[in-house]
């Protein structure tokens, strides 16, 4: 498990030392080597990089039952070791969050870099606040092993927050044929264990990279770097001080109206190519408006088709509270943004003075003011509907089912999962209706 702790130096920046972030990567994929031999390998403690001999072969059943069950105990043991470290005598250990990274997306190192210009003292966590879990819905490990892990984590650390960053299967860009199966099965089993799941999909990020950042053919490296900016903004409050610093728990309280409705979409602004740095300056109100545009979203979804239930705005950099309030007041006045009846106010604002870092040689221009918006909208039900439709098409023919049955699953589980997702769609519909 990975640990992020922050130690405040002047201006919130780290004081010397290398960050010692410890991650456990996909234990079911033999190639955690990308991280072990990668550019940023010094960020990871070798003991915390676990890899197994077999992989999950895009099969939820393998990830959860057969292969996963063999590795889960080792993973949990390492987590325990990290999470329950001895109380620290050293200076200012701020309660941290544990990170669990899965190697479904390569370049995990990019994630750690952006979130870690902090320095860590000892390896153990002083006060564990919660877990951050990065995974994809479509792969075997991401779906199967994660659901197993989440269950066990709830068992052992019931009071701790679990936040997920999930790579949702893109509508038109697919990496595995059985994505819908894996996604539905994992959503069914992890919904009750995750507190909040931030969704990202490859196609949306691909389009942003291609059209806005001038990347001709985005690779996973480009896509991950963009995702990481969003993640970094969300965890910024943990790592730096600010006038209106919003805690992780506060986010959830404001974003999740019902336990099952915890899938906010992420939007980021400004997205400017590094080649066009300083050509256009975006004011606070510009970036606020941009966040309500679907082209800046990290998930393909049209919020105009639904209603907003809650909105969290995380400003970073040189933003003063007065400007932030003015920008939001301007947005509220816009009638195109519809909120549900039962939640008229809906905005939560956080400001963190630390501007976002960019990777040197990366695609994004450095911005002095940035905004990451997390919005819980009923329009995300459209994404679930798409997924369910694909699931139905395959399941009607029982296509590819035998791969799951072979590993010990039963058809009943499929039906149960599908039912659960149908219920989720209904829940969203109900939430969007007038009181």
């Amino acid at each position: 498990m990975g640990v992020i702790r922050s130690r405040e130096g002047p201006g919130g920046l780290a004081e010397g030392g290398r960050p010692n972030c410890t991650e456990s990567t996909d234990p079911l994929s033999p190639s955690a080597d990308g991280i072990r031999t990668g550019q940023h390998r010094s960020l990871f403690h070798p003991e915390q990089l676990l890899s197994g001999k077999e992989d999950a072969a895009s099969n939820y059943a393998r990830g959860r039952y057969s292969v996963g069950s063999e590795v889960i105990d080792l993973v949990l043991e390492r987590t325990r070791k990290l999470a329950s470290g001895s109380p620290l005598s050293s200076k200012g250990a701020v309660p941290g969050a544990c990170e669990v990274l899965w190697q479904n997306s390569p370049a995990l190192s990019a994630v750690t870099i952006a979130t870690n210009h902090v320095s860590l003292g000892a390896e153990q966590c002083g006060e564990l606040q919660g877990f951050l879990i990065f995974r994809s819905f479509g792969g075997g490990t991401g779906s199967g092993f994660t659901s197993l892990l989440m269950e066990r984590l709830t068992g052992e650390y019931s009071k701790k927050t679990k936040l997920e960053f999930s790579v949702y299967p893109a509508p038109r860009v697919s990496t595995a044929v059985v994505e819908p199966y894996n996604s539905v099965l994992t959503t069914h089993s992890t919904t009750e264990h995750a507190d909040c799941t931030f969704m990202v999909d490859n196609e949306a990020v691909y389009d942003i990279c291609h059209h806005k950042l001038g990347v001709e053919r985005p690779s996973y490296a480009n896509i991950n770097r963009l995702m990481v900016q969003a993640v970094s903004s969300i965890t910024a409050s943990l790592r730096f001080e600010g006038p209106l610093n919003v805690d992780l728990i506060e986010f959830q309280t404001n974003l999740v109206p019902y336990p099952r409705i915890h899938f906010p979409i992420t939007t980021f602004a400004p997205i400017v190519s590094a080649d066009k740095a300083y050509h256009e300056r975006f004011s606070v109100s510009d970036i606020t408006t941009a966040c309500f545009e679907s082209s800046n979203q990290l998930v393909k979804c049209d919020p105009r088709l639904g209603k907003y239930m809650a909105c969290c705005l995380l400003y970073r950099g040189d933003v003063v509270p007065r400007e932030a309030n003015a920008a939001i007041a301007a947005m509220k006045a816009r009638h195109s943004i519809q909120f549900v009846d039962w939640c008229p106010t809906g905005f939560k604002v956080g400001i963190n003075n630390q501007p976002p870092m960019v990777m040197p040689g990366g695609d994004l221009a450095k911005a002095h003011q940035a905004l990451c918006m997390l919005s819980n909208t009923t329009a995300i039900a459209e994404a679930w509907a798409r997924l369910d439709h694909k699931f139905d098409l395959m399941y009607a023919k029982r296509a590819f089912l035998h791969w799951y049955i072979r590993e010990g699953m039963e058809e009943a589980e499929f039906l149960e999962a599908r039912e659960d997702l149908a219920a989720l769609e209904r829940d969203y519909k109900e939430a969007g209706q007038s009181v």
Binding site: V215, E216, R217, A221, A277, Y278, R281, V320, R322, P355
Partner: protein
Amino acid sequence: MNGTARSGDYSLLDLIILDSGYIIMSDTLTLDVIGGRVKVNGEHATVRFVGVVPPVAGPWLGVEWDNPERGKHDGSHEGTVYFKCRHPTGGSFIRPKKVNFGIDFLTAVKNRYVLEDELEEDEKEQIVTIGNKPVETIGFDSVMKQQSQLSKLQEVSLRNCAVSHAGEKGGVAEACPNIRNVDLSKNLLSSWDEVIHIADQLRHLEFLNLSENKLKFPSGSAPLTGTFSALKVLVLNRTGITWAEVLRCAAGCPGLEELYLESNEIFISERPTDVLQTIKLLDLSSNQLIDENQLFLIAHLSRLEQLILSDIGISSIHFPDAGIGCKTSMFPSLQYLVVNDNQISQWSFFNELDKLPSLRALSCLRNPLTKDDKDTRTTRQLIIAKIGQLKTLNKCEILPEERLGAELDYQRAFGNEWKKAGGYQDPDKNRLSEEFLAAHPRYQFLCLKYGAPEDGELKRQPLMLKNQLLTLKIKYPHQLDQKVLEKQLPGSMTIQKVKGLLSRLLKVPVSDLLLSYESPEKPGREIELENDLKSLQFYSVENGDCLLVRW
């Protein structure tokens, strides 16, 4: 009455400075305001005239708007020319009351960064002191808190805050000396001198953004005062600055690393000799007057690593000091070149880029040559093949496999041309035409790296069946009396079927036959055709080869 009205003929007005820092005209208008930058209802303008415009009484300001269509006239009214504008509708006369002359730097900082409730306390205090008796200072703590906050400020953004002057001397240095990063874009600063007044008080200033200020830049060489000794990044986009002015301003910035000059209609007129020698990044985007010859003047900045030339209308580039296949001495450290949105339509452009010794990354999107959507893959491959040391193209890393594929494909694609131009397998025999060498400077190098393209690879035959038949000789090494036969067989024929054919021909049972083949290109080397289920193609049997049959 004709002629120009003299600016001296006016009644004097006084200035009142409000608590909020806005200067309004109340009694005195001095000539100083001419040339100053002002804001009227959100629109920016430059003051060109102060005085009376008969027959209407009262003082008027003649302004030239930034937006050339905002005005009503070009500075003349009823036959009299009061001031000149560049555009027939660029000017207006405005009552001084309506004009915002801007605020000073420190007030702008306070306006933005001081929390509102503290400001209110200040006002209360002022109202109380206007009275006769001195009153105990309420909220002094909050003032001190405010000031200590300001002194912590490092990054300050004052975009569009109507900053027109530095203010009281030393005020800024006292209140917020630790500022490292200032964004003063789109303000009302009217001259470089005013900028220096501000920057003089910020000893740690590293980043300064002055975009969209219509500044009057120094006309002669300014004395070096050490004002910008710490400055690393200077942004002067859309300021109307000329190249000569750039060099004069840069003279005061000995450590400058990044310089942004987008959209200034710059024409590079001279070679920077003692200035700009430390810059690593130069952004000259959207300066349409720049052409390739002007680039020679900046070619010897030894530390320049990144050059952004997007949207300048360039279509060709040449480095005359380097011959074909050689490296130029220009732009010695240039690693990343951006030429998006230009007029590049010739492949020779990329041939020339290969001469740059340090080039590692290139962005060339949206050019006529690269715009054709259906061929993006080929275009990308060609660019990779033409520029040998390129590691990143259009922000996508070029992996070794991609480079290998691109270079081999390139070789094959132009193989016939190479032959026609005098290329031979034996490099000593090569007599390549000048034309070919100029169009494909890397071709010889690729031949050395991968070997010259073979004839077999270059022939492109139409896909008719007769072209797919292999003409093979059939020899019988053990039977000396049998004639050598020639047969035409399809490449997809399996060995089993070949044996069957031969068996009927020779009256020998299939199971006794042993087949192998040899190629005239590699004499003495025999390859066994052991697997009956595989085809001739599988064993790479080619036209002109010889089958050897034994039993």
